[in-house]
Symmetry: C2
Subunit: 227 residues, 2 copies
DNA sequence: AATTTATGTTTCAAGTGTGAAACAAAATGA
DNA sequence: TCATTTTGTTTCACACTTGAAACATAAATT
């Protein structure tokens, strides 16, 4: 385990770099310099080098980075060389939608199980994924080697679901319930709050008078989100 | 239009406060002090007062805030007193899932139209929402008074879709395509990148050795996302 | 009228992230 | 061998957010 603390913004950028490399590989590029990478994908070359330098010396001075090699390094750094098994808790609209969301299947994340407390739903299937009783979470999670959980239940149940799954040993959780959750520090929680995002758009619409001229500078918080 | 620049983190917190007030209203509370609000919902009382003070004097010294009144103020500030009409571009899995996602219908956001370029899909319906040809976006958006667009198309088409909808006058866009997009400054773009979030979880799993003791301090970036 | 409560407002220190600049080191090519 | 390219690394200034502290102000209560 690396002891230096690496900012999440840094690791988010690693994801971006990996995507860029995928494009370059598809084009057959062999090497790329930080400068060219930055130019092409609207990034910052100094930051690319700094981000990568946290994890080792992957480049060759005078040459740049070997595309395939760097891709492998980033894949390893991000832990994407192994398959991750995902459980989705909540077999409602959002949960079932996420179950066959191409974004999961495309990458190294496989949805292995759905959970709900509705007896009508338990035992049914969404695509190939079976719906289990949330009471059996610990057992099923262990059996199916679940290492990532997605919370897609109504806000009022989210905290208790979170506690249940962390007690079962899950260390990585993505939360779609529009409520802040509290977790112990050895558990990683990512909350995706669509309500806040929508209301943020609404705020913008309410406070922008569309009279001012356009300009192309992207706004800074969006830049942070995007990179 | 307020001229002071208000941080997006501030407006995100306004959304949180609004949720808290909804709970309090449901319980029949009439007034609440910033201190009690903070204690109960794990917020910071000084920050609550500061955030609210950007927009006016809503509290009563010696009393606190009148719950219903503050709720109304926040609703207005966030522009949630009017209905917003949402168009979703991309009638794939994610797009159709979002279409009947309760999170949209519950609030003041109504999905008014779906768009796609697949002739098989055009003309069909998802729930009550009709799927239109993306070529007709400008026309339909004007007719149905669309003011928010959601991009749910594959990454490689996202930028061109974005340009099409901004040319039609849309000023608020939520992007689910896993790619950074460039917009003009008078357009608000929120990118929700589930891939980055997942890979961030993967990174955490790859770099945490689960040997260290637990502690309850929430990690700072999650706190920022949640509040 | 005096006390209490709690907001509105300002100020400040601490932490974090960004991006520019400078430069040594290493590899390539002429 | 020498010049060029580009990384790896350090340093610095700038900006932003947070949260604490201090205090005046206003309302309510005794």
């Amino acid at each position: 385990m690396k002891v230096e603390k690496i900012s999440e913004l840094t690791t988010n950028r690693l994801s971006i770099y990996l995507r860029c490399l995928n494009e370059l590989i598809a084009e057959g590029a062999k090497t790329i310099s930080s400068e060219k990478l930055a130019k092409r994908f609207h990034l910052n070359s100094a930051q690319i080098r700094k981000d990568l330098a946290y994890f080792g010396e992957f480049g060759v001075r005078g040459v740049g980075y070997y595309v395939g090699e760097l891709h492998n390094h980033l894949t390893k750094i991000l832990g994407l060389e192994k398959e991750h098994c995902v459980a989705i808790i909540g077999a409602g609209r959002l949960g079932t939608a996420l179950t066959d969301y191409y974004g999961f299947s495309q990458s190294n994340f496989t949805v292995a199980a759905l959970f709900d407390n509705d007896e009508e739903k338990i035992g049914q299937k969404v695509g190939n994924v079976k719906i289990f009783d949330i009471k059996d979470f610990a057992k099923v999670a262990k059996r199916d080697k679940i290492d990532v959980a997605v919370i897609a239940v109504p806000a009022q149940f989210a905290q208790s679901v979170l506690e249940k799954i962390t007690q079962a040993g899950i260390k990585a959780v993505m939360n779609f319930a529009p409520t802040p959750l509290r977790v112990e520090c050895d558990v990683k929680l990512k909350t995706v709050d669509l309500t806040i995002s929508l209301e943020s758009l609404s705020y913008f619409l309410a406070h922008s008078n569309n009279a001012n001229g356009k300009n192309l500078k992207p706004n800074s918080t969006e830049r942070r989100n995007a990179l």
